[in-house]
């Protein structure tokens, strides 16, 4: 497992240190916080991570922190813990994308399993993000004309049709098309289409 980190936000000192000890005992990196505000002061992690969050907290509640993180476009997975088996609240939390909702007192193994899943999920998200960022970088390196050609290629147009649309020769289109494939690192047309989908380049209808 590459470096990963677990954040714990709970206002109860004893609960916090107990969770920290348990997580460290299985070799996880842990950072604990007494309130959402404290957590928000920390800059976002650069490695796969997840957040263990008490629902009832002084000041901003756990659910509010969740909303705050979502609106700040953070995709950190959240494991909620609560003292009450409060069903409406857990439904709300799960709808808003919580990975797990644990009712105190839970088994340590349940928490560890939830954390494991959450970190794997975050790792996957991060890899996707990295891939997309790379594709965006590649798309950015295309010349405007190459981009126009690419849009038409993935829309399924033939070289001849593209040349007619852009008012150029079929030969030129062929050269530009090869250049697009090379710059994007695509092996085939389907490969290029998948990449375009991921980066969100609009398919020209």
């Amino acid at each position: 497992m590459t470096e990963s980190i677990v954040f714990v936000v709970d206002d109860d000192t004893a609960a916090r240190s107990a969770m920290e000890s348990l997580l460290r005992s299985v070799g996880l990196l842990v950072e604990t916080f007494g309130s959402p505000a404290e957590f928000l002061r920390r800059s976002a992690a650069e490695c796969p991570c997840c957040l263990v969050l008490d629902v009832r907290l002084p000041g901003m509640s756990g659910l509010e922190l969740q909303r705050h993180l979502r609106s700040a476009r953070s995709n950190i997975p959240i494991i909620f813990i609560t003292g009450h088996g409060d069903i409406p609240m857990s439904v709300e939390a799960m709808k808003a994308g919580a990975v797990e909702f644990l009712t105190k007192p839970f088994r340590g193994q349940d928490l560890l399993d939830a954390i494991h899943n959450a970190i794997e999920r975050n790792r996957g998200d991060r890899e996707d993000e990295a891939r997309i960022a790379e594709l965006r970088r590649r798309t950015g390196a295309l010349t405007p004309r190459e981009r126009e050609v690419m849009e038409r290629v993935i829309a399924g147009l033939l070289n001849k049709q593209i040349a007619a649309e852009l008012g150029t020769s079929e030969r030129t289109v062929k050269i530009q098309r090869a250049s697009v494939m090379k710059k994007m690192g695509a092996d085939s047309l389907p490969d290029l289409v998948r990449m375009a989908e991921k980066t969100g380049i609009a398919l020209k209808g």
Binding site: A14, S17, A18, S25, L57, G83, H84, G108
Partner: protein, 365 residues
């Protein structure tokens, strides 16, 4: 003839003695006035007094004595019991109204006694009902406290379980991490004590009979505040406790006084939870008031008291809440007054303030 009870016999003897005493006094005083124009008024008074305090039979004895005295001492021929027609008329004119008066007085007396008895009976029934009400409200409060306690017990329980698991994992590691395992075991003990303290508090709650002990009201307030944690968090109310550094001891029931503070604070929290604009702050304050008494105040930052007489808040079944039954404040007042104190309401700068004064225990610092 039926046997008389000793108390009845004593009552009868007292009645007759009273008749003789009153009639005799009337005779002595009237006789000392030489040739009174109207010899009857004092005899009349004697009859009324005898009937009121002695009953109807002694009353009639007094009438008989008065009539005989009048005939012998004041109606010519003096010193003789002989009767002629005008004398008889005169005596009848005295005896008949006297008898009537005697009858009315007796009737009045009986009515009054009955009224007093039924009043006493009602009074004791009211007291009984109030005690019942207090018990019911207490049970309800205990129910509310129970939820709070469950939450409180859960915290150390979870810490216990997690520390235990962590401890095992530190020991199972290769090589075992003894310092970490020891630390986790230490936490387990601490949390066990924390749970134990909560259980003790529950036990204190379950004790039903009021127990008067020497109390530090600061402690009572702190315990009540601990029970409020859940409600405070749920309604996003900040708690500020301003406890006097030293507070003279009072004598009282710990749980009952806790209940009063809890009730007042719950009201404050509920009122504030309807507020959206203002910051919600609950203030619990204790202070010594000279060496005679102490004050406990519960203040909020809500909208303040409703207009009207604040005393109305304390009457049973008066409520401003939709789902309230309006006995919290009335019971709180009953409890405070049973402790020789006073509970009242007012407005402070930012909201309502409910406070009570308790007398300091004699000989306390």
């Amino acid at each position: 003839m039926q046997f008389m009870q000793p108390s009845e016999r004593r009552q009868a003897v007292w009645g007759y003695a009273l008749a003789i005493l009153c009639a005799g006094s009337a005779l002595t005083v009237t006789a000392s006035l030489r040739n009174p124009l109207f010899p009857t008024p004092l005899f009349f008074a004697a009859i009324v007094i005898t009937t009121w305090y002695g009953g109807s039979v002694p009353g009639f004895v007094a009438i008989a004595l008065a009539t005989l005295s009048l005939n012998y001492y004041f109606i010519p021929p003096l010193g003789s019991m002989s009767l002629n027609k005008p004398e008889i008329l005169y005596l009848l004119e005295f005896a008949l109204p006297a008898s009537l008066t005697c009858w009315f007085v007796r009737k009045r007396r009986i009515t009054e006694t009955m009224l007093r008895e039924s009043r006493d009976k009602l009074q004791s029934r009211i007291e009984q009902r109030q005690a019942e009400l207090a018990r019911v409200s207490r049970m309800m409060t205990i129910g509310e406290m129970g939820v709070s306690i469950a939450h409180e017990v859960n915290q150390p329980l979870m810490a216990l379980v997690l520390n235990g698991e962590a401890c095992l994992r530190w020991l199972r590691a290769d090589p075992p991490n003894l310092p970490e395992a020891r630390k986790a075991a230490g936490h387990i003990i601490e949390e066990g004590h924390r749970a134990g303290a909560i259980v003790q508090r529950i036990r204190a709650l379950a004790k039903t009979s009021p127990k008067r002990v020497v109390l530090d009201v600061n402690e009572v307030a702190t315990e009540a505040a601990a029970l409020l944690q859940k409600e405070l968090a749920r309604n996003r109310v900040a708690l500020r406790t301003e406890l006097a550094r030293t507070l003279p001891r009072v004598r009282g029931d710990r749980v009952q006084l806790q209940q009063v503070i809890f009730n007042l604070a719950m009201n404050a929290i509920e009122i504030m939870s309807m507020e959206t604009e203002r910051a919600r702050e609950l203030r619990i304050r204790t202070e010594a008031e000279g060496s005679e008494s102490i004050i406990v105040a519960v203040e909020d930052t809500g909208p303040g008291l409703p207009s009207g007489d604040p005393e109305e808040l304390f009457t049973a079944f008066f409520t401003t809440k939709e789902d309230g039954i309006g006995i919290g404040l009335s019971i709180s007042r009953t409890i405070v007054e049973a402790h020789g104190g006073r509970l009242w309401a007012g407005n402070s700068g930012g909201g309502a303030v409910f406070q009570f004064r308790l007398p300091v225990m004699e000989g306390a610092l």
